[in-house]
């Protein structure tokens, strides 16, 4: 989706989005001429909003949490792959 649609879906203002991208909390796809966002980016923006707004986490805390959450998902993905491979061991 384009930037405008993303701002609506994620409920963000342009300046907030720019700051988040600068912090690399969000990494939109800039391969094409126009910046584009995925559903994953929208969901991640909601998480950041919840952390900052509802939970009172500051910017440093966001960095730490996102890093840990991303590692957790990395582990879960590896775990899932292992699970699949063990269920059907043919390669």
């Amino acid at each position: 989706m384009n930037k405008q649609q993303f701002l609506i879906d994620a409920g963000l203002e342009v300046r907030t989005l720019e700051f988040w991208i600068e912090q690399q909390w969000l990494v939109p796809d800039e391969t094409a001429s126009e910046i584009s966002f995925s559903d994953t980016d929208v969901a991640r923006a909601h998480l950041i909003r919840d952390l900052k707004g509802d939970f009172g986490v500051n910017d440093e805390g966001i960095d730490v949490i996102l890093h840990l959450v991303d590692q957790l998902h990395g582990l879960r993905r590896a775990f899932e792959q292992l699970h699949k491979d063990m269920a059907s061991p043919q390669r």
């Binding site: 800039e30 509802d54 959450v69 590692q71 998902h73 990395g74 292992l82």
Partner: protein, 300 residues
Amino acid sequence: MRNPYEVLGVAPTASAADIQKAYRKLAKKLHPDLNPGDKAAEDKFKEVAAANDLLSDAEKRKRFDAGEIDADGAERPQHRYYRDFATADAGHPYADSSGYADYMDQDDAFAELLRRSEQARANRRGRDLHYALAIDFAESIAGASKRLTLPDGGTLDVTIPPGLVDGQIIRLRGKGMPGSGKGGPGDALIEVEVRPDPRFTREGDDITLELPISLSEAVLGGKVRVPTPTGAVTMTVPKGSNTGTTMRLRGKGAPRVGGGQGDELVKLKVVLPKGPDPELEAFVSNWDRKAFDPREDGAS
């Protein structure tokens, strides 16, 4: 929905601060994105969030306490959680394998499986990086090689193409942030500022220059040296040249798109010697001043 006070575990007399505190405590524990493996967390979190939405709004809370609305009016709009994508979508740029990188380095079947799962991650191109660079006017016409020092101490060699215009962006493929998997790195985008040269003005492919000449060069003609962005050249000023006379130096301008080269336009400007010059005054007094009236065509 259950009674929102029970959901949050607060008394009906609780203050707004108590409600926020109770909500934060529960939400931090129950947020689905902080519990990616707990399917029940989402329902519990929704209930807590809805209770908070109701009780943290003083107006809604008052109406609920008065029995005007029930707890079901406070359903949150649905949105999908990050956890729904983060594990399943292998192609997003946030994927991070550092939590098990040490296991991958081992030399056994388990490590092999982990490495294969790592490779399964989709390939995403790295981000583009943006830089700024200032060059001289002459370099913008003739082209140049510049070395850009990056904030991290690294350097980037930039080839300035001949004829570059102010504000033009040069793209260096593959010099941006590294990508993941086979995605390849992003590009470096360099915005080039051309420092103005007081002598030259660029108009499209042509360059304009104002060249001062002496009275005798104007009257008698002669050879003069003319600066161009690529070095000085000799030009012949014809006899009887005047202020405003424009001479064209072919091919001394900026390169044209599609081949060829613009011209340098040299505007002559007759300049008298500085200060009083008795010899010149005596000479001009003897000159027939009636012979020429520059204002006879009504210019004044």
